[in-house]
């Protein structure tokens, strides 16, 4: 097996690779491998997910991987000698798998073209996906084809073999077996996996004196600790936002960046979806320390320094108590009665929460300390929300992250008590708190091993580096937050011969080099039972989940005394940061998360939902603070926190709390790869283990140096134009047609008889702005589906980003310190009277009979007149040959159904024409009409809130037609008589009448 992989990894370029595959096919090892991989009777299965098919496809994928190397196929192309069953070349297959991310796991369906995974979509059956996929899931396909992934086992930087490492570890294994693991430490990432949990248990059984701890730079650690304080059990909250009528978020970006945000977003949207004036919608209050997508969705938003959130929560508890709610810990909070917050605001929120007792929800974010979470538990419990809008599950099969464990390990490392340190994933040299000086401590450890996808900052300082496989090439398993079990199923052989997590863990725990497939099945045999195992197993593989494996979500009992004691021991900060003592807040990047996605170009180029910055992290400063400190965007300041200093660019961000600056983590990588190296600034260098989330006393010194930040949206106001149309719910009830009434124009007439578009399919789309949360999932899905190139920071700065779909973000309201924010996904509107078509001199953009505005790339000569005449500016031009330098391996991520565009041509959203045609062909073959909902565009498919609906507007019964009948439906710039096929449902806000009257 390993020798095969060695051969595979030797060369990925066309000719030799192909040849070695031929050779491979003849070797006895390969034959054995095939035999082992094809269980008896597999050929009888007609199941779409059959293993046999899968592996045959994998074989084909290897062949194709080789052939990708040539622009024109000069190689001989060999057809399937024996065509695998059910494989039609050109027709993709979908397989279910799971993407793990810390304690979370998202079920996915992955599109595979002849064994080559190309596109990720959500798995409707999986409770953490519900059919949606977020930006990280969508973009993870690009990580699979990252050419900078580690390709070899390295020993002291020199190439070695997996077999060498196995031998080395077996030696270590035997040594540690004698001293029961004394001096052996495994430092891993948090996980939620039955197999990994089993192997960890096995490991600790064999080496009782060893330790296996987890560190995550961004995690739910505080939440779990808060729940532990409040209930005595370290449990995880599961929110049911669809049940909540009144929601208060305390520094929680639950819609995009917290755990299970896809489910949260769906629940939130379901509680907010309005079809008519009689529908109700939930109300969201957000108190937050930096502007987030959740803050943008809020009906009332209050910017507040992160350190003040605790005191605010206490003030809220007191207000609730005052209004008659018995909160037992409130007695301990009297010291917070005097505060500087808007008492009226707090009273109104408290009243609202009380009104919706049992149907309200208070949630606090990851950044807030355990004390806040404990108090939030008490509030929710008093409001009767626990068990209704929030429930708690045991962290079964999970390894919880703990920074204190890391600190303890580092202490031991420094003291020389750690003999062998195995770093299982993660990148502690880069992302461990700066005060721990992990890198220095590492030098004191005799034996160091790092298992990681890249030769990263940590790998370059260790003795052994072992390449870690991507989840799309690994066997594994996972538990979703609610406990539902699912299998991580590989879509392809490891491209670079890396080892999967379970294989590595199995080696650690047993000293045996075993196959991941067997290890996972062993776990699942225990879970599913031996009876009918194969059938159940295949069912799990097919569905992507094991049914009825979710854990019971409970309403645990509150330990009020413990909470009170904890709050007394860890009081909330009562003073606010001020001009001389600023607060700094560390947030996870909406693009690269904690830095793990730094080498992913799609994510680097993804505009932040609120700042619209790409390719950088910046110090977000409120306008008032910037004015007082004399700072401006695009200048470098020297930031000093607890004696640690670094230069950071300033970005003035409205809605940021005064005297509190926020900065994203995850940038400034030095060993990320060709994309991520040197992008942004490594703010981990400012972060300490004592205050990892926010710290007081940052000092900013102007340097006078300029630094260019590349934002995709320079203008922030709508200039009073009715582009995003919104109203308060009450206003809407009085003026149901307000959206259309916002524009008055003379009758739109035409000089000639217009095409009627009244036969056949007529495609149209609606976007519900009321539930769009601006999360960017659609943007990434579109990028993946339509082979959209990344262009780099300089090009984005010039204004040449290629995204076919963008999320326009506008600020609303007069005050600069806390403006409201609205989002509008903007892509080709497929105007029936398309201005672009009229002006193209060569008729390269024309209308088809189904109402689509289509681009003929072959005909386009690139005058760019169409873009000038497009009122929506959704057309994108290939100013350079952006795909020229795409590494061969990245080309495997391309969708074969979509043309890769050359320089000099215009491109734009096609309404996923390839998907339309695929379904039309299928329907035609089956002699039927296309069913409503059968065609789903990439953006629609992945939207966590189902804001996007696509279909045939010529069918009055289709969902899209019905939505277009709704009274909030409007078309942007319809006064230009463009007659767009894409329409929007106006946004509604549901403010608290008490707070509205005030302002």
């Amino acid at each position: 097996m390993s020798s095969i992989e060695k051969k595979i990894q030797k060369n990925l370029q066309g000719k030799e690779y192909w040849r070695s595959l031929e050779e491979l096919a003849e070797t006895p090892e390969f034959k054995e491998f095939l035999q082992r991989e094809f269980p008896e009777g597999a050929s009888e299965l007609s199941d779409a997910m059959s293993r046999r098919q899968f592996l045959t496809l994998m074989g084909a994928s290897m062949a194709l991987a080789g052939l990708m190397g040539c622009r024109r196929p000069v190689e001989k192309i060999v057809p399937y000698v024996k065509a695998p069953e059910n494989v039609i070349p050109g027709v993709p297959k979908y397989y279910a798998t799971t993407m793990p991310l810390g304690l979370n796991a998202t079920g996915l369906l992955v599109e595979s073209h002849e064994g080559r995974p190309t596109k990720i979509e959500g798995n409707e059956k999986h409770p953490a996906s519900l059919g949606a996929a977020g930006v990280f899931q969508q973009a993870s396909i690009l990580n699979l084809y990252d050419p900078d992934r580690s390709k070899f086992v390295l020993r002291q930087g020199a190439q070695a073999q997996w077999a060498d490492f196995v031998a080395y570890w077996q030696e270590q294994f035997n040594q540690f077996s004698q001293n029961r693991g004394e001096g052996l430490v495994v430092l891993s990432e948090a996980f939620s996996s039955p197999t990994l949990a089993r192997l960890r248990t096995e490991f600790l059984r064999r080496f009782p004196r060893a330790r296996w701890v987890a560190y995550e730079p961004v995690s739910d650690e505080n939440i779990i600790e808060g729940v532990r304080v409040a209930t005595g059990r370290a449990q995880l909250p599961v929110y049911r936002l669809d049940q909540a009528e009144v929601i208060l978020s305390l520094d929680s970006d639950f819609l995009t960046m917290e755990g299970d945000s896809l489910v949260n977003a769906r629940g939130f949207a379901d509680g907010r979806r309005v079809q008519d004036v009689n529908d109700s919608m939930n109300r969201l209050y957000v108190v937050e320390s930096t502007y987030t997508a959740t803050g943008a969705a809020a009906d009332h938003r209050m910017p507040l320094q992160a350190r003040q959130i605790g005191a605010f929560t206490a003030a809220l508890a007191l207000a609730l108590e005052k209004q008659g709610l018995r909160i037992r810990v409130a007695d301990e909070l009297s010291q917070y009665a005097n505060h500087s917050f808007d008492q009226k605001w707090i009273n109104a929120v408290a009243k609202d929460l009380l009104r919706a007792r049992g149907r309200s929800l208070v949630m606090a974010g990851r950044r807030q300390p355990a004390s806040v979470h404990a108090l939030v538990f008490a509030i929710n419990n008093a409001l009767g929300n626990v068990g209704k809008t929030v429930a708690y599950v045991e962290p079964v099969d999970k390894l919880l992250p703990n920074t204190q464990d890391l600190s303890a390990v580092v202490e031991d490392m420094k003291a020389g008590r750690v003999k062998t340190l195995v770093m299982f994933g993660g990148n502690p040299v880069y992302n461990a708190p700066a005060d721990l000086a992990f890198g220095a401590a590492l030098k004191r450890v005799e034996q160091t091993i790092h298992f990681s996808t890249h030769v990263d900052e940590t790998s370059s300082q260790v003795e052994w580096h072992v390449p870690q496989a991507h989840f799309l090439e690994s066997w594994g398993d996972a538990r979703a937050l609610d406990g539902t079990m699912s299998v991580i199923q590989p879509l392809i052989q490891p491209l670079f011969g890396a080892k999967s997590d379970v294989e590595f863990a199995a080696l650690l725990a047993t000293g045996q080099d075993v196959r991941g497939y067997d290890v996972v099945r062993e776990t699942w045999k225990a879970a599913l039972g031996n009876r009918n195992f194969e059938r159940k197993w295949r069912r799990v593989l097919h569905d992507g989940i094991a049914e009825n494996t979710q854990l019971t979500a409970r309403a645990p009992r509150e330990r009020s005394n413990e909470i009170a004691r904890y709050l007394n021991a860890n009081p909330f900060a009562r003073d606010a940061a001020d001009k001389d003592k600023l607060e700094i807040v560390f947030v996870a990047s909406s693009a690269v998360f904690d830095g793990r996605y730094a080498n992913n170009g799609w994510l680097q180029e993804l505009p932040d939902p609120t700042t619209k910055l790409t390719w950088d992290n910046a110090l977000l400063v409120s306008p008032k603070t910037a004015k007082e400190l004399n700072l401006a965007s695009n200048e470098l300041v020297l930031a000093e926190v607890e004696g640690r200093r670094m230069k950071l660019p300033v970005f003035v961000m409205p809605g940021q709390p005064d005297y509190s600056v926020a900065v994203a983590l995850g940038y400034g990588r030095t060993h990320a790869g060709r994309v991520g190296n040197g992008v942004g600034f490594n703010t981990y260098r400012l972060r300490s283990s004592g205050s990892p989330d926010f710290a007081l006393g940052v000092n900013l010194v102007r340097t006078g140096e300029r630094y260019v930040l590349a934002s995709t949206q320079d203008h922030w106001s709508m200039e009073g134009r009715p582009i995003v149309r919104d109203a308060d719910l009450d206003y809407y009830r009085q003026h149901p047609e307000f959206a259309r009434e916002m524009v008055e124009h003379p009758p739109l007439t035409s000089l000639w008889k217009e095409h009627t578009y009244d036969t056949g399919y007529q495609w149209g789309m609606t976007v519900d702005l009321n539930v769009c949360i601006g999360c960017n999932a659609c943007v990434t899905a579109c990028q993946s589906e339509n082979n959209i190139p990344i262009v780099g920071k300089e090009q984005v700065w010039r204004g040449r980003e290629m995204h076919w779909m963008r999320i326009d973000r506008y600020f609303q309201g007069g005050e600069l310190d806390s403006p409201a924010m609205v989002y509008q996904p903007m892509m080709c509107q497929h105007c029936e009277m398309a201005p672009c078509e009229q002006v193209c001199p060569v008729a390269a953009t024309v209308h088809d009979e189904e109402g689509l505005n289509v681009m003929v790339y072959n005909r386009c000569i690139g005058t760019r007149y169409c873009s000038n005449n497009c009122p929506y500016k959704v057309r994108r031009f290939n100013f350079f040959n952006y795909t020229n330098e795409t590494p061969e391996i990245v080309k495997m991520a391309m969708n074969p159904d979509v043309t890769v565009r050359f320089r000099g041509v215009m491109e734009k959203c096609t309404f996923c024409l390839q998907r339309i045609n695929e379904v039309k062909i299928r329907a035609k073959n089956e002699g039927r009409e296309v069913r409503d909902g059968e065609i789903r565009t990439a953006c629609q498919q992945t939207c966590p809130t189902n804001a996007i609906v696509f279909g045939n507007i010529n069918d009055p019964e289709s969902e899209v037609s019905k939505i277009k009948q709704q009274n909030r439906n409007y078309e942007v710039l319809s006064e230009l008589n463009t007659r767009p096929r894409t329409s929007y449902l106006a946004k509604l806000r549901n403010p608290n009448p008490e707070l509205v009257a005030e302002s």
């Binding site: 106001s717 134009r721 500016k873 350079f880 000099g904 041509v905």
Partner: protein, 469 residues
């Protein structure tokens, strides 16, 4: 001979047109000599300089073809930048030539004779510069021929609704007619040069281009008719070309482009800038080549009057644009113009207003109209202003259109600047070649406006011959 006779008849009371009291011979002598004497060092220096710029232009175009239009500062939303600005600018420059040669010819304005030749030459070269830009500006130059209605196996025609296609025809026609017109006018002078030529090569080359001109009555008759017809053909083109160029903007739906005033406004602006350019060139040429007697103060003053008139027209257009934007009640339209004057491109807008509207007002004064340094400075400022007018129209409109989310400030690159300079290099290179090898003043026409050309001249004035009779 009829036309000529009439022209001459009009000349009688206008003996001041050509100064220095030249004879037919001295006219031929002083103008032909310019192309016959040894090339001066100054010419070589200038030619070396400008042809280097032209070479830079060519190299940059090569790089553009190699890399793509991204080397310019273009982006979305400003997908047209300096290349289109330069295109409109150069087409505008060309207009004065046609106006002087065709319209003033038809209107029997005899003062045009001294300046029409190099005004026409300027037209040709300006249109060459102009025509370069749309050609190189497309994303895929190698298929730019899709613009032409060529029969092909796909039965694919260009889109006749697109103003860009109209542009192709308009500019193509304009160039062709201008070239023919210029060449036709050159024939008698080429024959003169042929007759004076001393070297074989000169004789052959000029001879070939003179098309066997013998100066016979029949020759003159055909010539005059052809010239008149071509003048008639060229006249509507003066109006049509820039009208069509303005359609590129006016036919689109962008606030700031979509205005009905554009065709006349563009034509007026074109004449304005064209005359300014003729002025700049004429002032230099008459000094360097000692043709002050041919291009007299009267010519210059007339041109200054036209500059003043067209400046007023342009100024009127600017103000009526603002008025209509306000009067229309269209918020996009209002914003577009308000933004021009006060937005991020206000500096360009006010540069334009200053150069095009304020500066030419000095010509209300006769003293200023006849002051050579003043008119030189004004002519250059006017061309700067007119370049900025096109910049304001093209860039500021695109940069701030309907959806504020896509607004973006245009940042030119070194290639934008380099290609503008390079196009001037090309223009002056061609112009220097023209000065070196072709008669810069239409000798035959000038002779026709001399007093001696009047058939009755000798009856009134007499000469030595008469005395002897």
């Amino acid at each position: 001979m009829k036309a000529s006779a009439e022209t001459t008849a009009l000349q009688v009371d206008d003996g001041q047109l050509i100064q220095g009291n030249p004879t037919f011979h001295t006219v031929s002598e002083s103008i032909s000599r310019i192309v016959e004497v040894k090339t001066t060092k100054a010419w070589y220096v200038l030619f070396g300089f400008f042809s280097s710029l032209a070479l830079m232009f060519v190299v940059m175009i090569g790089y553009l073809f190699w890399e793509g239009t991204g080397i310019w500062g273009l982006q979305i939303p400003v997908a047209w930048g300096w290349a289109i600005v330069n295109f409109v600018f150069w087409v505008g420059i060309g207009h004065a030539g046609t106006l002087i040669s065709a319209i003033l010819f038809l209107l029997r304005q005899p003062w045009r004779t001294s300046i029409n030749r190099f005004a026409e030459a300027m037209t040709i070269f300006a249109v060459i510069c102009a025509g370069t830009f749309p050609g190189i500006h497309v994303g895929r130059v190698w298929v730019a021929y899709y613009m032409f209605p060529l029969p092909n196996q796909m039965s694919m025609w260009p889109n006749f609704r697109s103003p860009l296609l109209w542009d192709v025809f308009a500019v193509g026609t304009y160039f062709t007619v201008s070239l023919l017109f210029w060449y036709t006018g050159l024939i008698p002078d080429l024959a003169t040069l042929r007759d004076r030529a001393k070297s074989k090569i000169r004789k052959a080359v000029y001879g070939a281009f003179a098309l066997g001109w013998r100066g016979s009555h029949r020759n003159w008759q055909h010539y005059e008719l052809a010239y008149l017809l071509l003048a008639g053909l060229a006249t509507p083109l003066v109006l049509s070309v820039h009208s069509v160029v303005s359609f590129d903007f006016a036919v689109s739906n962008l606030p700031g482009w979509h205005t009905t005033i554009f065709p006349p406004y563009f034509v007026a602006g074109a004449i304005f800038s064209g005359f300014a350019m003729v002025m700049t060139l004429a002032l230099i040429a008459r000094k360097v080549y000692n043709v002050e007697n041919f291009i007299t103060m009267r010519h210059l003053e007339n041109m200054n009057k036209i500059i003043l008139v067209t400046s007023l027209m342009v100024g009127y257009a600017y103000s009526i644009e603002l008025f209509i934007a306000w009067y229309s009640g269209n918020p996009f339209e209002r914003f577009a113009f308000w933004n021009r004057a006060t937005g991020p491109y206000a500096w360009a807008y006010w540069t334009m207003v200053f150069c095009n509207v304020v500066v030419p007002q000095v010509f209300w004064s006769r003293r200023m109209r006849r002051n050579i340094p003043v008119m030189f400075v004004v002519s250059i400022l006017v061309n700067i202003g007119m370049w900025f007018e096109r910049f304001v129209i093209v860039v500021s409109t695109l940069a701030n259109d309907f959806l504020p989310s896509s607004w973006h400030y245009f940042k030119p690159t070194i290639f934008d600047v380099g290609m503008l300079i390079g196009s001037f290099g090309l223009f002056f290179t061609l112009f220097l070649l023209f000065l070196r090898f072709l008669p810069m003043i239409a000798m035959a026409e000038v002779k026709a406006v001399l007093p001696q050309a009047d058939p009755h001249y000798y009856e009134h004035h007499g000469n030595g011959k008469e005395a002897s009779v």
